[in-house]
């Protein structure tokens, strides 16, 4: 390890990465939304003030969109050299509503420098179909175009700012929007969210509307509407296996237990897709999965920690050669998991170590309370006394940001802890966790960030 200052820098950056992966500024089980925002805001200021270069570089990591938007807003607001390409690449990965929300934020904050306008312009021009965006996110596109001082080509400008000027549009989606005002058939060519309003205006029954709009639904709309549409006798044909794992797990956990079992195959298929070529290469893996009451999350993040644990369960099952999943409650069937009971992590970690795994993955929010601190002691004695060489590779993945500590809660200083948001990032996180163990230094971390920045 290099110097003391570098050690601190390395730690700070990892801490920030953990926060930026997990925190969404929403209420969590142990802390309110206000605390989360305050804590996160401080962290952003701190890291931006002290390590501006690394601050921007974290955009390349798998941090969540909320934090990516915060970072971009901060970078554009403050003076200083910023790699515009880094921002552009991140914006391209974010979902369009998020980006439009960010643009709105910039507008509200009065951030309108040349760099900001250029980034907005490039992003808008790179949209595959701006006319479609203009229909779906009409006011947001309008605001962005206005804020970036753009002059949209052709009839798009008219559509946004003076739709009545034209009696017809040449672009199909714009024309569909115009005709949908009086023609019931035209609205089925529009995106679902827009068509829904027109359907209500024309008094079209829900069943008929859902059936005919079904082909236009996006992936997530399909999933969200599955239950409601089934009530009207329409199958949306949501494909669970194609969705992000945690999203699929969240959906499955929202169903009654009997129905959940029908989706196990889809979850397994999703996990196999994510595992890809790495399937079965991780050797002997044991996971300790948290289904204590705190894995309920909060009313705004319902069962999120539990969904992460469930997604990790299926992914590890796919990655491992031989896999054992141990739930805190002791249940055998993962898909029936429900958030209830205390958190006896220590005992379960012991059970896990007894299976003699090559890797031990703990997915928990780290509130070890039965008894408090037993997991830390078990891990400490294991590392110090029974396995000093580190033959069993242990990683703790934590889906919850602890506002008070400005980090995810750790189990033990001897075991690396990483924040986790999407189960898909699990392999990368286990890799990132080695920086937290203190064996690799700042230069490697820099190199890693740089490599990530260019590979994505």
């Amino acid at each position: 390890m290099d110097t003391y200052a570098e050690l601190i820098e390395c730690e700070d950056v990892l801490l920030f990465a953990n926060a930026a992966i997990t925190s969404t500024g929403q209420r969590e089980f142990h802390g309110g939304a206000g605390e989360q925002r305050l804590s996160l805001d401080f962290l952003h200021r701190y890291v931006h003030g002290n390590y501006p270069g690394l601050y921007a570089a974290t955009l390349a990591l798998d941090i969540n969109d909320h934090n990516a938007a915060l970072i971009i807003a901060t970078l554009l607001r403050e003076r200083g050299a910023v790699d515009g390409r880094l921002i552009a690449r991140r914006l391209a990965r974010m979902s369009p509503p998020r980006v439009y929300r960010l643009f709105r934020q910039l507008q509200r904050d009065g951030v309108n420098n040349r760099r900001t306008r250029a980034i907005m312009r490039d992003w808008l021009l790179a949209r595959p179909d701006l006319a479609f965006d203009a229909v779906k996110y009409r006011s947001a596109v309008k605001a962005a175009v206005r804020h970036a001082h753009l002059k949209p080509a052709g009839e798009l400008g008219d559509f946004l700012f003076a739709p009545r000027r034209r009696t017809r549009f040449d672009t199909p989606v714009l024309e569909a929007w115009r005709r949908a005002h009086y023609d019931k058939k035209a609205l089925y060519d529009l995106p679902y969210t827009v068509a829904e309003g027109f359907a209500a205006r024309h008094g079209i029954s829900r069943a008929v509307f859902l059936e005919r709009i079904a082909p236009r639904l996006t992936r997530l709309e399909r999933l969200r509407l599955t239950g409601a549409a089934r009530g009207s006798g329409v199958e949306t044909g949501a494909d669970l296996a194609a969705l992000p794992l945690v999203r699929a797990a969240s959906y499955v956990l929202s169903l009654p237990v009997e129905e959940r079992r029908r989706h196990v195959a889809a979850l397994r298929a999703g996990a196999a897709r994510v595992a890809g070529a790495r399937a079965g290469t991780w050797g002997n893996v044991t996971a300790v999965l948290d289904d204590s009451f705190s894995s309920y999350g909060s009313p705004v993040k319902k069962r999120r920690p539990l969904a992460v644990a469930l997604a990790c369960h299926y992914l590890l099952e796919a990655l491992a050669g031989r896999y054992t999943g141990l739930w805190l409650s002791g249940r055998a069937e993962a898909v029936t998991a429900r958030p209830a009971g205390a958190t006896p992590l220590g005992t379960r970690v012991l059970d896990a170590l007894e299976t003699r795994p090559d890797r031990l993955v703990i997915v928990s929010d780290g509130w070890d309370n039965a008894p408090p601190g037993l997991a830390a002691e078990v891990l400490r004695v294991w590392r110090r006394k029974l396995d000093p060489a580190g033959e069993v590779r242990i990683a703790h993945l934590n889906p919850v940001y602890d506002a008070e500590r400005f980090d995810v809660r750790r189990l033990s200083p001897l075991v690396p802890t990483a924040g986790i948001r999407d189960a898909e990032d699990l392999p990368a996180l286990v890799e990132l966790a080695r920086f937290a163990e203190g064996r690799t230094g700042l230069s490697e971390l820099h190199a890693y960030l740089k490599e990530r920045a260019w590979s994505t």
């Binding site: 089980f29 142990h30 204590s292 009451f293 705190s294 209830a340 009971g341 205390a342 958190t343 220590g346 005992t347 012991l350 170590l353 007894e354 309370n369 039965a370 008894p371 408090p372 601190g373 037993l374 830390a376 002691e377 078990v378 400490r380 004695v381 294991w382 110090r384 006394k385 029974l386």
Partner: protein, 357 residues
Amino acid sequence: MVDLTGLVTGPAQTWGTVRLVPLVRPEPIVDLRLHARVFGDELSMALLPDRTVYTAYVPHAFVASWTRDGTPAAAYGTQLGEPLRRVPIRTHRRMVRREAKNRLRILPLHLAMEGFLALHFGLPEIAWEDWTRAALAGGLSPRVEEAYSGAQVRGLDDALRIFEFHPGQCGLLLYVGDALAGAFVVPHPEDYRALHPTLIRDLFGELIHEYALHYPVRDFRAAIDDGLVASLADLRRQAVRQEEEWAGFHDSVMAAGLTAPNVQDVYRLGRFTLKRFLPAFDRRAENHIGELITDEEGRTAYLKTFRLSQAQVRRGYLLSELAAHGWSLVATAATLRTSSAELRTRIERAGFARLLR
């Protein structure tokens, strides 16, 4: 001492100054259950699977539409069977509307507590209803003490919210700043789940309120001596010992304060007996007042205690002396070595002026 046979102390969970000790019943009592009304309209929830008859109970001060015309009323004292003894509650319109949702509510603040105190001494109920109205309108005339609802005790709401139930949990001992604030036991885990949120509406004296502002209590920390560990089996042995120590930590250190010297039987239904108990009204010790339902062997099926504040202990002392002397001012004054006029003033100061003629 309250007989807590059949209940096992679970490991405690702490949050700030609040320590919550779960009481777990390995074998829940199935033939004594919360009155179906408590669960709202879902009558099926309290029905036994084999449709055998069970005895119902209603916790003290529990508000629901007991009356035929649907107006809210509070159970007056814990009730076995149908809640016959109840107090009509006069609420303003907004509260009535919230009542319509059949949500769990416990009578708030001093009504519950003072009513409880009065109840123990068998005061005439007519006077009580009259007094309720006066207290609701203007509070107790000379407010000599403060009482706090659970929501006002700092950190208690969070502690109760994040508390992780134990499987089979049927009760809770609640400590604030490591002073026992109350004990709560029900016969069945389902009842406990239904009533756990109402704990926030309990009443606490100023002692508890102030303790909650102090430093966080020290939590148990597991510590394993790695000198004793040479294998994984050793490690497990040590971990099990830690768990035992942790569960035992509470039993040996803290559960001593809950004594019930003056127990009286109130009502008997089937194999269950409803009892009330009073403390010794000793100003130097913890004073808990409470109700319990026991089975034929004297084991506790239901228990609810309140810790009296110092002012309430004084009142209780006064009432107990009065009751002991058949509510005769002269006789009581003679025992307390004071004049009848002075005693009258003391009663008035204690907020019981309406009891005087």
